[in-house]
């Protein structure tokens, strides 16, 4: 967010996996409209629970469709969830002498493979599909370590505690991390598309006008460009 001399301000609740892209998005949005934004970054589950108990968030940008759907069903969203981008899965390593590939996962030199918890994180679910596709899951299940969110999975990989790990393309493309480690992108057809959606929250104090502006901005050309830069695919 930045100071633009206007009193208008919205709070955007964002899932952890969008944390890199959202900063650029918000910058562009504020530049365009002068509306300031506060960012609250947390897990989708937490944000959902908080919104249901009246958290003062205006827009909820989730990492999948399940949580926005839940909010919509509870009557707290202005409209049904709308997909703004699709995430992509990568296999990433920090260890110098490892070249990431599916085949290496079964190698004895690999002790731990980090994935996000498939129960709650869409990237984890996608990683499991990939492993299933290669019929690897049974063989390497003992090597899997689970991060509670994509961020935590990243920490397992970055600290090299896990030699390899599945994460989102947006992470490895983030400016801070571009030079770190090596990664390969996994083919799209190996997992169900990771559809990320957004809802506009409906509560009394909501800044309807401004939040609508942001909501619309997310589907603008400018926003799509930013999202693409961060490795998301968008409907065009």
């Amino acid at each position: 967010c930045n100071n633009h001399g206007t009193s208008e301000k919205i709070t955007i609740a964002t899932a952890a996996n969008m944390r890199y892209a959202i900063e650029d998005l918000v910058k562009a949005f504020t530049k365009e409209t002068g509306i300031q934004c506060d960012l609250v970054i947390s897990s989708s589950g937490t944000l959902t629970a908080q919104i249901k108990e009246g958290a003062p968030y205006d827009v909820f940008i989730s990492a999948d469709t399940k949580y926005p759907n839940d909010i919509f069903k509870s009557g707290l969203a202005k409209n049904p969830p709308k997909i703004y981008a699709y995430g992509k899965l990568v296999l990433w390593t920090m260890t110098e002498n490892i070249v990431p590939s599916i085949s290496i996962l079964n190698d004895d030199s690999i002790d731990h493979i980090a994935i996000a918890n498939p129960k709650i994180a869409p990237y984890g679910k996608a990683a499991i599909s990939v492993l299933n596709h290669y019929k690897l899951l049974d063989k390497i299940e003992g090597k899997l370590v689970y991060g509670e969110s994509i961020s935590q999975t990243n920490q397992f990989i970055l600290s090299a505690s896990a030699e390899l790990g599945f994460t989102s393309l947006s992470v490895v493309l983030a400016p801070e991390l571009k030079e770190k480690g090596t990664w390969i992108e996994l083919e799209n057809h190996l997992y169900k598309p990771i559809a990320q959606s957004v809802v506009q929250i409906a509560h009394e104090k909501v800044n309807a006008n401004s939040s609508k502006k942001f909501y619309d901005f997310l589907f603008s050309k400018k926003a799509k460009e930013i999202l693409k830069n961060f490795g998301y695919s968008v409907d065009e």
């Binding site: 952890a16 970054i41 947390s42 908080q50 958290a55 003062p56 968030y57 920490q155 992470v171 801070e176």
Partner: protein, 224 residues
């Protein structure tokens, strides 16, 4: 580049929580130390129970309880005009409940370790239980009070799960240092996270060290 407001908020929260905990725990501990009631072990156990739930989950239950959608939250909101979710008072209430055992147990343990005759001597002098507690018993269990204060304070500084859930991470209002650090670590900005951690660490270290030094001098004066 450092945003100081989370740090300020943290120490404000820790200080307020510790003070409130002292106020609540002193009568509660005194009751526990004296009581022969059958309820006593039950209360002793209950005091520790908030600890056994993961903080975020505890925070989730607090969120449910404090929410204005709920009878209790609504009641607080209407009668006291305090909104407990996503507000500083809410953080305080949650932290107090969560850190209660760290204050209550040491004080109770200190009080029950004092020789009974000291208390009795004050009673016979006509001093009320309250006067005796504040002028005689508490001043003689300073190490126990200190333990309670240090544990509660440090625990509140590092508290994170409960605060995140109930506070909602709103900058300047409920975004305390622990959450800020967590955020930076999550964002893989280890540099900033380290700086925050070091500052938090250094300030807390100085506060606690000062407390222990003063305490040590005090005891030395006593000729111990």
């Amino acid at each position: 580049m450092i945003d100081w407001s989370p740090l300020l908020l943290t120490f404000e929260l820790a200080a307020v929580t510790t003070i409130i905990l002292l106020v609540i725990s002193i009568p509660l501990s005194a009751w526990l130390a004296n009581s022969k009631s059958r309820l006593k072990p039950v209360i002793e156990t209950l005091v520790s129970m908030p600890l056994v739930l993961p903080p975020t989950v505890l925070g989730f239950y607090f969120l449910m309880a404090f929410s204005p959608n709920n009878a209790f939250g609504e009641w607080i909101n209407e009668w006291l005009g305090i909104k407990l979710v996503f507000s500083f008072p809410g953080l305080v209430v949650a932290s107090v409940l969560y850190s209660l055992p760290f204050m209550v147990h040491p004080i109770q343990c200190g009080l029950s370790g004092l020789p009974i005759s000291i208390k009795e001597a004050a009673y016979v002098m006509g001093k009320s239980k309250l006067t005796t507690l504040f002028r005689v018993q508490l001043p003689n269990i300073k190490p126990a009070l200190l333990t309670g204060i240090v544990l509660s304070f440090a625990h509140t500084v590092g508290e994170f799960g409960v605060v995140l859930m109930i506070g909602g991470n709103i900058p300047g209002k409920t975004k305390v240092a622990s959450i800020a650090i967590y955020d930076e670590v999550e964002a893989l900005n280890y540099g900033t996270a380290n700086v925050y951690s070091m500052i938090l660490f250094a300030i807390t270290f100085c506060i606690l060290l000062a407390v222990y030094l003063v305490n040590g001098k005090h005891l030395k004066k006593l000729g111990r």
